[in-house]
Symmetry: C2
Subunit: 160 residues, 2 copies
């Protein structure tokens, strides 16, 4: 009824969920989960089996990257929505997408550096009281919004 090559796009262009799992190293359950959440899409055979265009491997790679950077699946979904839907995205389009993370990575590295300083200087020296430490308690923004410790560690304040 269906062979692995009977697709309008040419021979061998689609992958089963198992093949995609092997190629990406992501479990089939995770791939189905991503599809549920709208991060990837599949065509279906007449009998309901998933068939992924080859281009989806790149999409999955992007998801794994993005997760390591610290984005949630929902955030990643939003990013991926910016890609064209009908055709495989061009390298340029992937690049535009990923460029937006540069700032985020920089911010995270900056925070880690701050933490590193905090660990060596602050905790050791005794100022780590969460009340007086200059590294942690930047401008008392935390108190202003009652948002807890995340503030003194570099998060943006988000007033209600």
């Amino acid at each position: 009824m269906e062979t692995s090559w009977d697709n309008a796009e040419g021979p061998f262009v689609t992958l089963t969920v198992g093949e995609l799992a092997k190629r990406t190293g992501v479990a089939t359950s995770a791939l189905r989960f991503y599809e549920d959440r709208g991060l990837i899409r599949s065509q279906r055979t007449e009998t309901g089996h998933r068939r992924y265009p080859r281009a989806v491997t790149r999409r999955v790679a992007f998801i794994v990257f993005a997760q390591r950077v610290g984005l949630t699946l929902e955030e990643i979904r939003c990013e991926l929505e910016k890609l064209p839907s009908g055709r495989p995205p061009r390298g340029e389009e992937w690049a535009r997408l990923s460029a937006m993370w540069a700032q985020r990575i920089d911010d995270r590295i900056a925070e880690l550096r701050r933490l590193q300083r905090g660990l060596s200087d602050c905790i050791g020296c005794g100022c780590l009281s969460l009340e007086r430490c200059q590294i942690l308690n930047k401008g008392d923004r935390a108190a202003a919004f009652g948002a807890g410790p995340r503030f003194w560690l570099g998060d943006e304040p988000t007033p209600p």
Copy 2:
């Protein structure tokens, strides 16, 4: 029956859970949770109310720091167990503890840099296939242990 200063260690040395919450910015529910998990300890009044020695604020600060670095509460608990139990830790002891994270922070920064390169170079240029990319697929270790995508992103392989 009990005043805020009737403690053998001197006047005003202990904090209620609410006071500790205010001082640290960590919710009382979280503080109780940490206590449940063995990250902090409290004395109890005759009626069962918690009383924290002042030194615990530093411990809470350490917890918050450590979480931002990426440690789980369980890992943090293990670290904190290395501190002396009877007396407040000295700055030197805190320093020794936090020094162990330096490597971890460095590793994480290195990974973020790798990701940043991967994002700008790899995804843009088209090699992000999880099969051929040199940045991602370092030495086919992933295949060797079947451990999924985390490998090509810099994690250590942990054979079963």
